[in-house]
């Protein structure tokens, strides 16, 4: 008998889940702030709500929701209330494709914001083109997200600068401003972002007359970097470029100092995080970071405080990028004077908006924000201290 009961419960559970899944969540919860409006325009968001990048994804979704609540309170987009639909991709390309298929065909969104990872942003482009819905990626820095083999992908846009630019800025700043000529690179061989930055840092650094004295690799998940760091120590570099994410940065920076390496450390936009300061405050003292914005800029504070007040958490870097993606979308919709996806896409191609991370002017040829300065940040006493805006040609 027990087996039968189990089976019945199981069948009931399956039926209930399918039933729940069948009806899409009611839009009511998203636009309670605004006045009741007959017309609702839907905006999609995709990214990691589960998996190792969940912290960033959650922050993006929170930001997007918060921004559209504000817009709704002010009367919405072109007088229409906005509903945000966020789907999880758990950092998987196939899931991202599923999510976009659902957003474009079932929910019929006007535009999509996200994802934050290049691998997912590239994989979804064929669906976007088929369904003709524009997407604004947040932190997908791989050049191939918007341009493949010289052809621009019509429905992919982004608000961040790209890997070649970031790598070139880091190398340019190291050689021209800091006047350091001997660099070592430690990078994550299993990570696309890390490989990209390494490639372009090396290229620019050598072009500018510097010398790469050591180039060592590890793979995601490693916790011991001493073998690689020992080799780097023998090469005696003046600067070590560490283009990977904060957890590994903290571990490798601590181990480097343990081994008595005194070289300046430098990293990209994978660094900024409170966890990094907690774990390696002393080790990264005096390091430089190439970032999208200056966290202490007075113009940023309004958003930072509003987010903290609403969610009780500090804003991650992705939050700022999501903020700009929403701003860009809002500007494009206003410019197009329509919520039709194709009209929005056309308007996006020539949109320009003052974002939180700088002026965002989308180039028609690349769908990237052109001429965006990077912010150079130095770690001083466990604080992110802004040095200067820096760009390289």
């Amino acid at each position: 008998m027990r087996r039968r009961i189990y089976l019945i419960v199981l069948a009931a559970l399956l039926v209930v889940t399918l039933g729940v899944a069948g009806c899409t969540p009611k839009p009511a919860q998203e636009n309670t702030a605004g006045p009741a409006s007959a017309e609702v325009v839907k905006v999609g968001w995709i990214g990691s709500l589960t998996g190792d990048q969940a912290v960033w994804g959650q922050c993006e979704l929170n930001t997007v929701k918060m921004m559209f609540e504000e817009i709704n309170a002010k009367g919405g987009l072109l007088g229409k209330q906005v509903e945000v639909i966020g789907y999880d991709t758990r950092g998987d390309a196939a899931e991202a494709v599923n999510a976009v298929k659902r957003l474009t065909s079932q929910d019929k969104v006007a535009a999509i914001i996200g994802p934050n990872a290049s691998g997912q942003a590239i994989a979804i482009s064929s669906v976007l083109e088929e369904m003709k819905v524009p997407d604004i990626a947040t932190v997908a820095t791989n050049p191939k997200v918007t341009v493949v083999d010289g052809n621009v992908k019509p429905f992919n846009f982004r608000v961040c600068f790209i890997d070649p630019y970031q790598g070139a800025v880091a190398a340019g700043y190291a050689v021209d401003v800091l006047n350091l000529k001997k660099a070592a690179i430690l990078y994550d061989v299993a990570d696309d972002y890390s490989q990209g930055l390494t490639e372009f840092f090396e290229k620019t650094f050598v072009e500018k007359g510097g010398e790469i004295v050591a180039k060592e690799a590890f793979k995601s998940g490693d916790v011991d970097f001493r073998p690689q760091l020992s080799k780097i120590k023998e090469a005696n570099p003046e600067i070590i470029f560490m283009p990977y994410f904060f957890k590994e940065v903290a571990l490798s920076a601590n181990q480097a100092r343990e081994l008595g390496i005194n070289a300046v450390l430098m990293g990209g936009d994978g660094w900024p995080s409170d966890v990094l300061i907690e774990m390696a405050k002393d080790a990264i003292e005096g390091s430089y970071i190439v970032n999208h914005l200056d966290f202490n800029d007075p113009e940023v504070q309004g958003f930072k405080d509003a987010y903290k007040a609403k969610y009780g958490l500090a804003v991650e870097l992705n939050g700022y990028m999501a903020y700009d993606a929403v701003k860009l979308l809002e500007a494009a919709v206003n410019k197009a004077n329509s919520v039709d996806p194709i009209t929005i896409k056309d308007a996006l191609e020539t949109s320009s908006v003052k974002g939180i991370t700088g002026q965002i002017t989308i180039s028609k040829d690349t769908h990237n924000p052109e001429g965006k300065d990077a912010a150079i940040i130095k770690m001083v006493n466990g604080e992110y201290v802004f040095q200067q805006k820096y760009s390289t040609k």
């Binding site: 008998m1 087996r3 039968r4 189990y6 089976l7 419960v9 199981l10 559970l13 889940t17 399918l18 729940v20 899944a21 069948g22 009806c23 899409t24 969540p25 709500l49 589960t50 969940a54 959650q58 966020g86 789907y87 999880d88 758990r90 998987d92 390309a93 196939a94 899931e95 494709v97 599923n98 999510a99 298929k101 659902r102 474009t104 065909s105 079932q106 290049s118 691998g119 590239i122 994989a123 482009s125 064929s126 669906v127 369904m131 791989n142 191939k144 493949v148 083999d149 061989v189 299993a190 990570d191 696309d192 890390s194 490989q195 990209g196 793979k219």
Partner: protein, 296 residues
């Protein structure tokens, strides 16, 4: 529910189904656990993409080449590892899957870890469906043949089957190669479905997913594997309304099913016309005689 969305899930289920079928032969029928099948999928995916992009082969031919490449890789690996017993073989495949991924991470010709965009989209519901049907029919005949029976004998009692004269190593090898062939073709379909390949897609988590589906569907059952693949691929999508708790619910559902049916969904049974008839007949009989079904 929109057809465009459903179609996407069905294609993905079909691709997983094919990989799971292969693994089912190895794990379910030959009794060898593998945690490296994502590696064979990766080999198949990259080879197929090279064939269609650089050699301009028709998609079906390219898929065949991709599958053969995976089978060839398994031949080399099998020679080295198939003498290992039980858990040791399992660990060897685990290392192998990761090694293939890390090699691909380093090969800049394929885009390295940054991935390979711009792969033509050839995978459609039709060709996935046809390949799946061919795959299922072939496997069903194989299992019923002498070769299949020998594999099952090895699963049940390796030493005894060796004593009665079955070349255990040879049959393990055959099983592994066919299984890798299936995984390779599945990989090829996968790459041409997404239009993008990245070694990250073939992490150990993908291998485990496949093994979970085989066990979930029931070891030693082709229909169980097929059913499991479709259900477990569609389930995370069906659970989207749970938002960030989605994967927790997914995990809970799988655990619940495994507790209530430890032998898996089909538990070694097959869905064939005769079996369906027997099953229905049993219910009719039961109603007439008012017998309980309790116990096993």
């Amino acid at each position: 529910m929109n057809w465009f969305y459903i179609k996407g899930i069905l294609i993905l289920s079909g691709i997983n189904l094919l990989a799971v079928l292969g693994l089912s032969l190895l794990t379910g029928f030959t009794g060898l656990f593998s945690f490296g099948h994502a590696g064979f999928m990766a080999i198949g995916a990259y080879t197929t993409a090279v064939m269609t992009i650089h050699f301009h082969l028709p998609f079906m031919v390219a898929l065949g080449v991709g599958g053969l490449a995976a089978a060839l890789a398994s031949l080399i690996i099998g020679k080295l590892t198939l003498n290992l017993k039980g858990d040791y073989f399992c660990i060897a495949t685990l290392g192998l899957g990761e090694a293939i991924r890390l090699i691909l991470d380093n090969v800049q010709y394929f885009g390295g870890a940054r991935g390979w965009p711009g792969i033509p989209l050839h995978t459609s519901l039709l060709n996935v469906f046809i390949i799946d049907v061919v795959g299922i029919v072939f496997l069903a005949f194989l299992i019923r043949s002498r070769h299949g029976r020998n594999m099952i004998a090895i699963r049940e009692e390796e030493l005894a089957s060796q004593i009665i004269g079955i070349d255990v190593f040879k049959y393990k090898m055959k099983s592994l190669m066919i299984s890798a062939l299936y995984a390779g073709v599945a990989g090829g379909l996968y790459g041409h479905y997404l239009g993008f390949l990245q070694p990250k897609m073939f992490q150990i988590i993908k291998s485990t997913e496949l093994t979970i589906i085989v066990i979930f569907g029931g070891l030693g059952s082709i229909s169980g594997s097929a059913l499991g693949a479709v259900i477990l691929t569609a389930l995370p999508e069906a659970l989207r309304s749970f938002d960030k708790w989605r994967l927790v619910v997914y995990g809970a559902a799988v655990i619940f099913i495994m507790i209530s049916r430890p032998q898996g969904l089909m538990g070694g049974y097959e869905i064939t016309p005769t079996n369906i008839k027997c099953f229905l007949f049993r219910f009719v009989k039961k109603d007439k005689k008012h017998q309980g079904m309790g116990g096993r």
